[in-house]
């Protein structure tokens, strides 16, 4: 099968066509079937058949190009590996848009963007904002178009429960939220880390400092400046950027909503 996602064409070939239906459930958000067999990136999936020798069990194998990226007896694990690889390649090679690792919600026609690495508390802040009426745009990536506006990437939220490292997936609707549809201009960029008992003391960042903070979470940062800087520039010149450690997410949600609604400069 061949498909495209954010301008990159992928092909997946399988030894057993019956697994294709399961594979399709793991394709990246926004994928579309492609008619052309010309692809930028080819995966090969060798599904384990019946064992030919007694006492042995064949593996499921997954290749990206000619490099093997998974070898396992567990087909679900192989699909998870494929999904993770596909998502990353899509984000890295995306054309005409830029993937920034960030949570995003919409509020009164503007987007609040919360860039940050894993375990920085993005999801808990996004969840708290949704519960206070914000529209869900993304829990994983801010997809910025050439104008610096955010497009929705509403994959299910990965909510970690306490110290449990395994996240559970929730649709925004399950948390009482609505999913955004239209692209939004970024009104507020929030650089924050969760720290228990931390005081919320936001300070404004200059455009250059904001650019640095966004680039630090840009998937295609190493592809070159012409890919990322023109898009990030649109964001940092038009949006307010603030930075602070934070305590509980619920405490700062009203402040963020007020800030994004206030006129800029």
């Amino acid at each position: 099968m061949s498909f495209s996602a954010y301008g990159t064409h992928f092909g997946i070939r399988v030894t057993d066509p019956t697994v294709l239906e399961r594979v399709q459930q793991h394709l990246p958000w926004g994928w579309e079937p492609a008619a052309s067999s010309q692809v930028d990136f080819m995966y090969s999936l060798v599904a384990a058949g019946a064992s030919k020798r007694q006492g042995t069990r064949p593996y499921h194998l997954l290749y990206a190009g000619s490099g093997r990226i998974a070898r396992t007896h567990n087909f679900d694990e192989l699909c998870a590996r494929l999904a993770s690889h596909l998502e990353l390649v899509t984000a890295f090679l995306a054309k005409n848009c830029l993937f920034v690792h960030a949570g995003v919600v919409g509020w009164q026609g503007k987007a609040i963007m919360i860039p940050g690495r894993s375990f920085s508390g993005k999801t808990s802040l996004v969840t708290a904002l949704i519960k206070r009426g914000a529209t869900y745009y993304s829990d994983e990536f801010a997809i910025l178009d050439s104008q610096g506006w955010v497009r929705p990437y509403p994959s299910p939220l990965s909510v970690r429960d306490g110290d449990d490292l395994n996240a559970k997936k929730y649709a925004a609707e399950e948390l009482g939220g609505q999913v955004g549809v239209e692209p939004l201009p970024v009104g507020l960029v929030v650089i924050t880390d969760y720290q228990p008992e931390a005081q919320w003391r936001p300070r404004a960042l200059s455009p250059a400092q904001a650019m640095l903070a966004l680039m630090n979470n840009t998937i295609a940062a190493l592809r070159g400046p012409e890919v990322s800087i023109p898009i990030l520039k649109q964001v940092v010149l038009k949006a307010k950027t603030i930075k602070s450690k934070r305590g509980e997410a619920e405490e700062i949600v009203p402040l963020l909503q007020k800030l994004v609604s206030a006129p800029h400069r």
Binding site: Y63, G67, H73, N74, V89, A208, L212, N217, I229, L237
Partner: protein, 208 residues
Amino acid sequence: MDYPKRLENVYVETLGDELCLYDWTGQKMHALNPTAALVWQQCDGQSTPAEIAARLQPKIEANHAEELVQYTLKQLSQAHLLAEPETPPVLTQRNLTRRELLKMAGMSLALLPVVKSIELPTALQACSANCTFSYFVNEIDQGKSCNEQCTENLITTRGELLCSADLINDDTVCRCTTVLLDPTADVCWGSDPNSNPFPAAQGRKNAR
């Protein structure tokens, strides 16, 4: 540093009075505040710090512009934003500290040069995905722990090994998962360099 010269192989983006510099070779990005940006732009390799200070005097309105330029050159040099020589500039007997400069020049804090830098993240560093590599040891040696058996069959040492005994189709196997610490590792993307979609940035000519 008699004639400081700015680094050539960088992409320059102007943001108001500030500059963002994308350094291909060092795979870093730098943010320069207005003072640092002014000084860096004047480093043409043909002007001395005193000449640069004289040119900037009307713009920065500091009583001790030359000391300020020297201090800024030191910051820029430490961030590797100046071409050779890399030794910090020395005009006075010793380099001024930030506090001494403020005291001597009586200038405001906002006038001090600030250079902030980050290392450009790889795709994996910038996102949540862990690069994990799993394998199984099927023929369990009952005399050894799962951890020992995974270690004996280790595929790569470039990561954190997590081991557990699993029951798969009534067979006990050791599940050995390596969470790779180096996200660009070949074992993660396959041994064929063409299958690695995240090559390191190549040095290029000045883009602007």
